[in-house]
Every structure is written in C-alpha cells, then in structure tokens.
Symmetry: C2
Subunit: 430 residues, 2 copies
C-alpha cells in the first residue's frame, strides 16, 4: 500500500495523541483511505524528556528543520505551540510545497493572513481543524457544509477551562478562585491559566471562525475581549434569579451592511437556550446560516484524544488533497467589511452597582441611565447588611457608547461606592 | 468566471429550494468557490404544474434523459423522489461520467451497493449529504471528520415528523391521532404519513449512516424497524414518571467482535440526556467515536431551505471534486461484519401489561419474567378504575430472545387481559 510520510513537530499532549491514535487505528485508516499514514520524523525541543506515549527513538530529532526538509515527509504537522518557531516552520514547509496541518490557534489568529497568502501563492493546502473546538468539526462545517450560506452568527462556548470554572461556580456556588483551583487540580486548567481565563484563547478561535465565515482576517486588536476573572458567584446567582446562565461566549456576527462583530466576554444567556446547558469542559457552537437556519455542534473542545481526532481527519484530507483552490484552507471574498467598533455594538446588559443603602439612590442611578437614553428592563435589590447595598439592573438594548456614557455618569454619583460590574446579555433573538 | 453546469431532476420542495438559494447567494458562492454554479436544465414530471419558485420556462423539460445527456451539464442533481426512475437516472449519469448529487435516502438504502460499486468502477463521485438529517452535516462529519475513529455508536432523532408528534404528545398530552392531525395541519406531516410514522424513513437514514460508519451495506430486511403508531400518551406519561422521554431513535452500534446493530424504534431515553430535549421538528445525532469521544449535531432535519443548504454544499464539493477514491462517497472496508439479529441484541425495556386487578397477578408476571431470566428494575401500578389494571415494568438488560420468551409466558397467563406493550430503553451507558 502507498505510504504518505508525515513529519510531526511537537510531541506534547496533542502530538503524542496523534501518534498514539494513528497507531491504534492504523488498519481502519488504511482501509478507509487506501493509503497508509506513516510518521517518518518527530521534532521535540528536549530529546531527554520523558514521554507518555512510546515511539521509536530513531524518529526523534531536536531540530524541526530536519522534519520539514526530510524528503520522506510529505505532510508537516505543527503541534509545537508558540508563535515564532511554528511560523518559521510552516513558512518553510509551504515554500517546500509540503502540505501543512496545524492546531495553533494563536498563530493563525495573529499571522493567518500571511500564512494563507503564501499558501495560496504556492498552492499548498493548510489544514487547521484542531485549532478550534478540538474534536468538534466546526471548521469543516463552516467552510464546506455551510458554503452556500451567509453566516448570520456564530455563538460559541469555545474554551473548556472557563466553562468548567463557570459551571462549578454555578452548580456548587464556588467562588472564582476555588473553581480555578479545582480546575487546576483536575487537569482542566494549566498552572498558568492566563490565556484561558482572560478570554484570549477563545478570542483566537473566534478570529479563525470569523475568517471562515466572512472571508476576511480581523485584526486581534479590534476584537473586544473580556475574561471571567471578575465574575463572582453572586453575579451568577443574580443571573439565575433573572433566568440566565453566565457563559464565556465567542460571538461572531455580520449585519446586513457587511459590518462584522467579533467579541469574547462573559455573557448572560437565557437558561432555556441550549448553550446554557453545555457544562463542564464541553464546547458547543451555534451556527446560524441564512439557508440552513439554526444548527448546533457539541463535543470535547480539548484534550489529547479529541484534538488528535481532528488532526487525523486533516491528515486524511491532506493525504487525498488535490490542488483545488479551496484546499488552501481560507476563502477570502469581498462581501464583508471590517470589524465593528465596540461602541457601535448594541446588546442588552446586566449591571451591578455598589451603592449607599439610602433613599433616593435608585432615582439617581435611573436618572443617570435615562440621561444616556438607556432603559431599565428589570431590577433586583437584595437585602443589604450594613450601610452598603447593591443594585442589579437588567438594561434594554443600547450601544456600548451609550452604556459607557451612562456608567461614567453613575460613577460620578456620590451614592455609588465602587466600580459597577457590566456584563452582556445575549437573547438569541432572530 | 468558469461555469459549472448543473442539471436538476426534480423541482419539488427541495429542488425548487436549491434553485432559489443558488440564485439568492450566487455572488457569495462564486466568490467562495471561484467558479459559478449554473443550472442549465430542470426535469419535472408535469410541465404544467404551478411552481412556488420562479425559473425561466426554457430550462424545463419533462424528460430527465435530456438533463443527463445535455453536454452543458457536468453535475446531475437527483431530487425527484421514488426509486426506479432515480436509479435509472443516476446509473445513466455515472455511466456518462457525470458527478451525481442526490438526497434520495430510500434509493441509497435499497440500492446503495450497486450505485457506489458503479461509481467506484467509473471513478465518479456521488454526494448525498441531503439524504440524512437535512441541513445537519452528518454525512461529512462521519465520513471525513471522524475518519480516524472507530464509530462506537450513533443515536439519532432523524425524523422530524415523528419527533413533532411525540413532542406534542409529551408537552400537550395529545393522543397520537390528535398530534398527527396537528402535524399535518402544520405541514410537518404529509397527507400519507406512513413512511414517517412507521419508522422506515428513519431506517433508510440509519442504513446510510451504518454504511459510512462500518463500511458495509446492511440489508434493509435485517434492520429492526418499529414505528410510533402504538405509543400512547399514557406510555409517555408513565415514562416521564420514571425519568424518561420517548423518542423515535435510529440506533447504529458495533461491538468489539465487529457485529453491527441497526434498529429504529420508539425508545425511552433518560430525561437528562441531551437528546431528550430535542423537540419539535428538529433532528439531532449523537456520534460516539473511540478517539473523539461524545459529539452532538443538531439542526433542522427537513424543509426546503435546510435541505437545499446540504445540496448546495454537495454541489460546491462536486464542483471542486478531484478523482480521489474518497470522493466516490462510500468507503467499504473489511473491519466490520454483518447486522446482528434482533434476538441477540441486549437492552433495557419498558413493559406495559393489561392485567386483572386481583391479588397475585404481580407474582405471576414476575414469575414469568424470572423463568426467562429477565429482572425487574422498577414498577408502577397506577390506581385502576374497574376490574382491569395495568402493570408498568422497567426491565434490566436482557436479550430480545429472553424478552420474547418472557412475553410469550406472560401472554399465556390467565390474568393478562391483552397484548403487552414493549418499548426499548437506551441509557447511553459507556
């Protein structure tokens, strides 16, 4: 049987998972594909490091250039992490006409345009299913299955770590620090969880999804990104009373004018919406197309095996790849424009304000909102202990500019005793 | 821009939807694909019939051979319904080397083997995303995204009509006839709903999914198919008390020995399982792969636009199709065997038995079950009015042979006053 030579750069969790599962399901893959996927070379940073998955020692090198340059390697799989080295590796592979498979979301979000411009110029396919939502085949769905659709919106729970933390805060009433510590103990959060909890891991994925949906690369600086570090168990409890769950959502939308929204932030979503019941480390994405209507994809968004499943699907496709234009992995088109500025984006809001527990406070706050033309849809004022109280307001649709303006007015009030917390609500209205 | 000529056979709901949406999103598709999809010819049975979607009169013919034979047609789309004519059309198209797109699930379930044998021999791609679950890209997911997985199981709500009927019986307490009449009034059930309610529409889809998952065509006669006509609102209510919802499920599984189960029947599923909350005309499929783990796909399984979205995705792929082996649409492989006989299949059961309201009845029934080595896990005996009562039993795992044997014993008891109702339970244990 014909062999296709694979070079693996990176043998961490995912790289080792690819090697392990290629071996485990070798017979099945060969039968299905009619070719054999053979790993010919593996690059690692430290040859002496202990490996959780066994592989022949003579496959390994600590020089990734040897993987790319090996004439027996036709497909280069980049799973090493980081930005500069992977970019150099992928560039070198494309220049050499070798098909690339990568799961590097940060790299694609930061350097997608140059990578795919080069890939198109050299007519070399680049596959990246593993970069978004692990085992969920969302890249293929948006790029191929919904090719006949204007993508109206994508709403995604696309970071398992934060979803685990928010789930535990919701179900067990843990506070943020407790839930994070538990996630770390369970192996669901890294020792340094910064990129997960600050929303940027999700933002990288949202940028990739936006590129597929709208055919244009959004500059990361233009994306509004807010993490979950400031969400308290109290906010989650108030949201519950109001009929909502709080999830870290990636939101990608285009309006009729062709302006695009891309944002990531903790979001109140109606408890009856299907995304509200996606719990723990699971990921899910709602994709709304103008022809297909509402769809949902659900599965494990991270972890050794689910992500390896996505890489192996890309390897199978790479092995069969033809030289058609679509296989370059990114479909630029001129139908959509730039990323909308946050100030111009309209949504509903949850606003929690620490205030003096005195008469007249609500009137002053309501006056500040009214002066910015922001309406209140509902309110909770929990019993306070002592002199300080809290107002929890649900606000009607308003632009971020209006709400920013209103919050400035509110913060200038003498009765307001600290920084208000603003969260966004997504009601999934059609 | 290069044009790809499309011949459309059938201009009913789906065919007209394809034409309408190709026109609506023409610019987007051309930008994404780099080619234009141009409908060159449309075959209909009756040229005089009024059309819900406008199309130039000179496209139409009442002779489908003219569509296939037109040298300007490179892709033939079969959406005419039926078996014999579509088979003749697809055979003629493949013989002529023209790529085929079809949504005809009955045809593929009955004649898939011969169609794909011919396609492989002629190296002509056949695409069929629209044949299963409308706008949900489940064919592509199983065939391509999960190519590196042994598919452990697929559980699907893959018939919208029956799901609508069961949802209304569950939520509004309607009986079967009322819910069916409502579905017909809403346009969710056809005037003749036989193929939907008797389970065979779902069975055709299950056979296609099994072929992709296990690389072998299952003979329809070997598939156990039970419809929903005998499910009563009372059974739904009892199931609710026991913590279950009743759904018409297509179940496709393989065990470690390579034996395959394919069955369609009303099934009790735990109310907490995500499939239990898939309501109305929506479809959803849980796919469990040995590498990717548990995944779920959800969306509209029928209707003009969702199904057109799937056909257009196939057209886009057909337009880019290369001559690789995978594009022939079916991947035979020798790893799995034949379809398991029903008698050998193990599951849990719900059993409702009309009995005399007399002391000792439960002992007799329990004795009959015990004699067949079938255990009872729980029981309800509602208050009876009059002399006749009902026993509702949840049974532990047992083979169908055991349960068949037990039911024969039960029916021979003098205290049993009618045919017991047997439903199957799916607990989604790993």
């Amino acid at each position: 049987m014909k062999q296709i030579g694979i070079g693996l750069a990176g043998f961490g969790t995912v790289g080792a998972g690819v090697f392990k599962n290629l071996a485990k399901n070798r017979a099945l893959l060969s039968e299905r594909l009619g070719v054999e996927l053979a790993v010919r070379r593996v690059a690692v940073r430290d040859l002496k490091k202990a490996r959780s998955v066994e592989a022949p020692a003579d496959l390994f090198t600590d020089d990734w250039k040897k993987v790319v340059d090996d004439p027996a390697v036709q497909i280069v799989v980049e799973l090493m992490g980081g930005i500069d080295e992977p970019l150099a590796l992928i560039t070198r592979a494309i220049e050499a006409g070798k098909i690339v498979v990568t799961g590097n979301k940060a790299l694609l979000a930061e350097h997608g345009k140059e990578i795919f411009d080069l890939a198109a110029a050299k007519n070399v396919p680049v596959f990246f299913e593993a970069a978004v939502a692990g085992g969920i085949p969302i890249i293929k769905a948006v790029r191929e299955s919904f090719v006949g659709n204007h993508i109206l919106s994508i709403h995604g729970i696309i970071n398992g770590t934060t979803n685990y933390i928010l789930t535990r805060m919701t179900d067990a009433g843990l506070d943020y620090a407790e839930a994070l510590a538990e996630a770390q103990a369970q192996g669901y959060a890294e020792a340094d969880p910064t990129l997960d909890v600050n929303g940027w891991d999700a933002a990288h994925k949202a940028i990739i999804l936006a590129s597929l949906a709208y055919g244009t690369w959004i500059c990361p600086k233009k994306v509004f990104v807010e993490g979950i570090e400031h969400v308290t168990a109290r906010d989650i409890a108030f949201a519950k009373i109001l009929g909502y769950r709080i999830k870290l959502l990636g939101i990608i939308k285009a309006d009729a004018s062709g302006e695009i929204e891309v944002r990531v932030h903790p979001t109140l979503i109606p408890e009856k919406h299907v995304l509200a019941s996606v719990n723990g480390v699971y990921n899910a994405l709602c994709v709304h197309g103008d022809v297909v209507g509402e769809t949902l994809f659900y599965g494990r968004g991270a972890g050794q095996d689910p992500t390896a499943s996505a890489v192996i699907a890309d390897l199978a496709e790479a092995a069969c790849a033809s030289a058609t234009r679509r296989d370059c992995g990114f479909m630029p088109h001129g139908l959509y424009g730039d990323c909308k500025a946050l100030d111009a984006i309209t949504c509903q809001y949850y606003l929690r304000i620490p205030v003096d527990d005195k008469p007249g406070v609500l009137a002053q706050v309501a006056g500040a909102l009214g002066a910015s033309n922001v309406g209140i849809s509902s309110m909770i004022q929990p019993e306070s202990a002592g002199e300080q109280a809290e107002l929890i307001l649900m606000l009607h649709d308003a632009t971020h500019a209006q709400v920013r303006n209103a919050i400035e007015r509110i913060q200038s009030l003498a009765c307001v005793k600290g920084a208000p917390l603003l969260l966004r609500v997504e009601n999934f209205a059609a």
